[in-house]
């Protein structure tokens, strides 16, 4: 099961995978124990081996047989809550200081990525909007503001372990930091109409040097872009 996780290329992806493993092993032990117990009981107490059943109702004191394992479940639940809460806070609540900022807009059935350009401000002439292509530098915190023009979409990059719904009428802030250069796929994870399945984009993570080259190829050399 764990081997099906895609490659992780974000700084918080490791935390998500760690959480996955913790829950996987905790629940895995319970799962195996419960199924083995069930199977054992079915064989051991099958009528071919038994003349008579034991008479136990299990109310009162005997409910301890149920309540003690339940107490263990409770403790494990709370420890999962603790680890999970930390992961959640890191990804969704404690946004680190912004490096680059990009505005992302979902619309049937494309992703639009708007860059502020060299002036670093949105709403100016040097903004550029690129469809379905997100370019970011590796090792830099990228902040995004996500919205939608029409219906709900969900911005999902499996290799970043990042998902966030794009909600019309709201601008939702988020962040990620990619660690490895390469190209990765962006999916839509919320049913958004007949073209939902084809609403995919590409994330290109550049090394710092390549990213400068890419910026130059879009906006020209720094001195000409500066106004």
């Amino acid at each position: 099961m764990l081997s099906w996780l895609p490659q992780n290329i974000s700084t918080f992806g490791g935390d998500v995978d760690h959480l996955f493993r913790i829950i996987y092993y905790i629940t895995g032990v319970w799962f195996v124990a419960a199924e083995l117990l069930l199977l054992y009981f079915l064989v051991r107490y099958h009528k071919s081996r038994r003349a008579k059943s034991v008479y136990v109702r299990g109310n009162g004191a005997q409910s301890a047989w149920v309540l003690v394992p339940v107490l263990v479940v409770l403790v494990l639940d709370l420890s999962i809550d603790k680890v999970g809460g930390e992961v959640w806070n890191r990804i969704k609540i404690d946004l680190p200081p912004a490096g680059d900022v990009v505005h992302i807009t979902g619309k049937q059935f494309n992703w639009e990525f708007t860059y502020p350009g060299p002036d670093g401000k949105f709403g100016t002439a040097d903004d550029q909007t690129i469809e379905n292509e997100l370019h970011v530098p590796a090792g830099t915190v990228v902040r995004f503001e996500l919205t939608s023009n029409d219906v709900i979409h969900s911005f999902f990059i499996p290799t970043l372990r990042l998902k966030q719904d794009a909600m019309p009428g709201r601008r939702i802030k988020g962040w990620f930091e990619a660690t490895q250069p390469g190209t990765y796929e962006i999916a839509c994870a919320e049913l958004c109409g007949f073209g939902h399945y084809s609403m995919h984009g590409v994330l290109t993570v550049h090394s710092a040097q390549d990213y400068r080259k890419w910026v130059q190829s879009r906006w020209g050399a720094p001195q000409t872009a500066a106004k």
């Binding site: 038994r50 796929e185 999916a187 007949f194």
Partner: protein, 606 residues
């Protein structure tokens, strides 16, 4: 009313005007035996019947019919996912828009028009009055109306297949604004009819829920205290209360959605100042309790069956009841776990994550109690027992995978993937279909007076159990690989190429799962006419439905029923045999049965 037998007239008296009816009944009017109209005629007997048993069978028939449509939809979905854009035998090509419509209708039908009528409508209606020792539901006409309202809702939903632009295609959750404006999907009347059908269905189960609640609380036979109720009655009761308390907001929401579509309002449309998140809150405030509405009765069925075929009392009866009540209360404060990444305030995620994961506690109580019931038993693996323990075995997977999704930090990744799909099929299938089939095989002799064939039943079980697991275990893996659900075909994503063969396995297993239902259909109809005569109590079970004829006469019991003990007295060493029916008088002179328990009921004076 005057012609009621004495014992039941006394029961009836408690809900309304007191016991005056007993006093006014003249001796000539008091007779024992079936007391409704003597020859009601075909329409009154089989179509517009007020008899809860006929209505229960009608729910059963309707749910199995709708399951055929839902199953056919599953076939189309699975075929398209395994072998995209190929000719589907018996159908043709599946187009993207059509695909979205099929998944929408599959979910809608299976939840609202199969699961609810099956485990609530059929088993609740058929069994609650029998199990509590009543002659019918508290409000028989309301009961009939609830069924025919549901039939109307089903008709509207089926009609939506045939309107121009096709049926709803916004997902079974109908998230606005996709569902709120025809331009986004191209679907016009299909979505409107979907909303109307679902709203009618809610109205139907509101009526049904009132009946369940009133009957289980007020029509219990003398001696049937709350702590002596069979667990299925408890579960139906809790389910009914959860439904009654949660559905109101969504009925309102569905009207708002309809108005957004046809009257130009903007409750859920941001351009007009509305908020799409409002729909999600309304939907899931109902939607999560709804999971337990359809789930708890399935658990109840398993808990009826496991003691009978282990010949042991149900372990921890009171703990289970308290646990189920706790699950019911918790189910009202977990709904936002469906919305962790929806854009709601992220600070809400942690409290909802904690409540969600805490739900594992009451369910652990139920699972451990069932395991403890098996311990030390004398287990007989009949078909109903196989389905019950098979359901338990599969539910454990559904339960533990809920922890993954309930943890908000991990849900960031797993939300909206096949992991979710596999998880909820692993919770709903065990509770609705394994539980439901277990119940059908178990109560079929009561319903039709004949036994079902055990060999065919076991073939049905093993096909269903093995194929079901082979469908959904691969889908967990696809989900872990990041495969989003509701994707028409995977090939547009490179990262999903390795998951493609998982879908092929799942589809082949689905074909096996569907084929595995054929023995059931044959068995069902063959046994109805040719099965071995069942007699009153073929399983040597204790609950009250087994002390009357199979099938029970109109009015259920030919003599007044008295309850002396708990429902699961199996293997009691003080008893002469290994079972003691709830209505079997004790050997020594009986003390007058007391109305004990929670004292929600007066005594039925005899």
């Amino acid at each position: 009313m005057g012609a009621k037998p004495l014992g039941r007239a006394a029961n009836r008296g408690q809900i309304g005007k007191g016991n005056t009816e007993v006093a006014t009944a003249t001796p000539a009017e008091i007779k024992i035996g079936p007391t409704h109209e003597e020859h009601p005629g075909f329409w009154r007997s089989y179509v517009f019947s007020v008899d809860h048993k006929v209505i229960g069978k009608q729910y059963l028939g309707l749910s199995l019919f709708m399951a055929l449509i839902g199953g056919a939809a599953a076939y189309l979905i699975r075929w398209q996912l395994a072998w995209p854009e190929t000719y589907v035998p018996g159908w043709g090509y599946v187009e993207p828009q059509q695909y979205n419509a099929i998944i929408t209708m599959h979910g809608t039908i299976m939840i609202f028009f199969v699961a609810m009528p099956f485990v609530l409508g059929a088993f609740g209606n058929y069994l609650i009055p029998l199990m509590v020792g009543a002659d019918d539901m508290a409000f028989p006409r309301l009961n009939m109306m609830s069924f025919w309202t549901l039939a109307a809702g089903s008709t509207v939903l089926i009609a939506s297949f045939f309107v121009p632009a096709g049926p709803a295609s916004g997902g079974w959750t109908a998230y606005a604004p996709l569902s709120a404006r025809p331009i986004y999907t191209g679907v016009t009347w299909g979505q409107n009819l979907w909303i109307v059908a679902v709203a009618i269905e809610f109205a139907s189960f509101l009526m049904g829920g009132i009946n369940f609640l009133t009957t289980a609380l007020n029509l219990r036979a003398p001696g049937m205290t709350l702590w002596r109720l069979p667990m299925l009655v408890w579960m139906e009761l809790i389910a009914a209360v959860l439904f009654l308390l949660s559905v109101g907001p969504l009925i309102a929401g569905s009207f708002m959605l309809l108005l957004d579509r046809v009257a130009g309002t903007g409750f859920f449309v941001p351009d007009k100042g509305g908020d799409p998140l409002l729909w999600q809150h309304l939907f899931w405030f109902f939607g999560h309790p709804e999971v337990y509405v359809v789930g708890l009765p399935g658990f109840g069925i398993m808990m009826e069956i496991i003691p009978v075929f282990s010949r042991k009392p149900l372990y921890g009866y009171k703990t289970i009841v308290w646990g189920s009540l706790a699950a019911g209360v918790l189910s009202f404060v977990v709904w936002a776990h469906h919305m962790f990444v929806s854009g709601m305030d992220p600070r809400l995620a942690t409290p909802f994550s904690i409540t969600t994961i805490l739900i594992s506690v009451p369910f652990a109580i139920m699972v451990f109690s069932m395991l403890a019931t098996l311990w030390g038993g004398r287990i007989e693996l009949t078909t109903p027992m196989l389905f019950a323990v098979g359901g338990l075995a599969t539910f454990i997977i559904g339960g533990v995978t809920g922890i993954f999704l309930g943890s908000a930090g991990l849900d960031v990744y797993l939300h909206g993937t096949y992991f979710v799909v596999a998880h909820f099929h692993y919770t709903l299938m065990p509770m609705v279909f394994f539980g439901g089939f277990a119940g059908l095989y178990y109560w079929f002799p009561k319903m039709f007076g004949r036994m079902m064939n055990e060999t065919l039943g076991k073939v049905h079980f093993f096909f269903t159990f093995i194929c079901f697991n082979c469908v959904f275990i691969p889908l967990f893996m696809a989900g872990v690989a990041g495969n989003p659900r509701r994707i028409y075909e995977l090939s547009s994503y490179d990262f999903l190429k390795p998951a493609q063969h998982l879908h092929v396995i799942a589809t082949i297993a689905t074909l096996g799962l569907l084929a595995g239902q054929v023995p059931f259909v044959i068995n069902f109809f063959m046994s109805m006419w040719k099965g071995r005569e069942a007699g009153r109590n073929p399983w040597l079970a204790n609950t009250l439905e087994w002390c009357t004829d199979s099938p029970p006469p109109h009015g259920n019991f030919s003599e007044p029923v008295m309850v002396y003990r708990d429902p699961y007295e199996y293997g009691n060493p003080d008893a002469p045999k290994d079972w003691m029916a709830q209505n079997e008088p004790p050997a020594e002179p009986a003390p007058q049965p007391q109305a004990g328990g929670l004292r929600l009921k007066g005594t039925g004076t005899v």
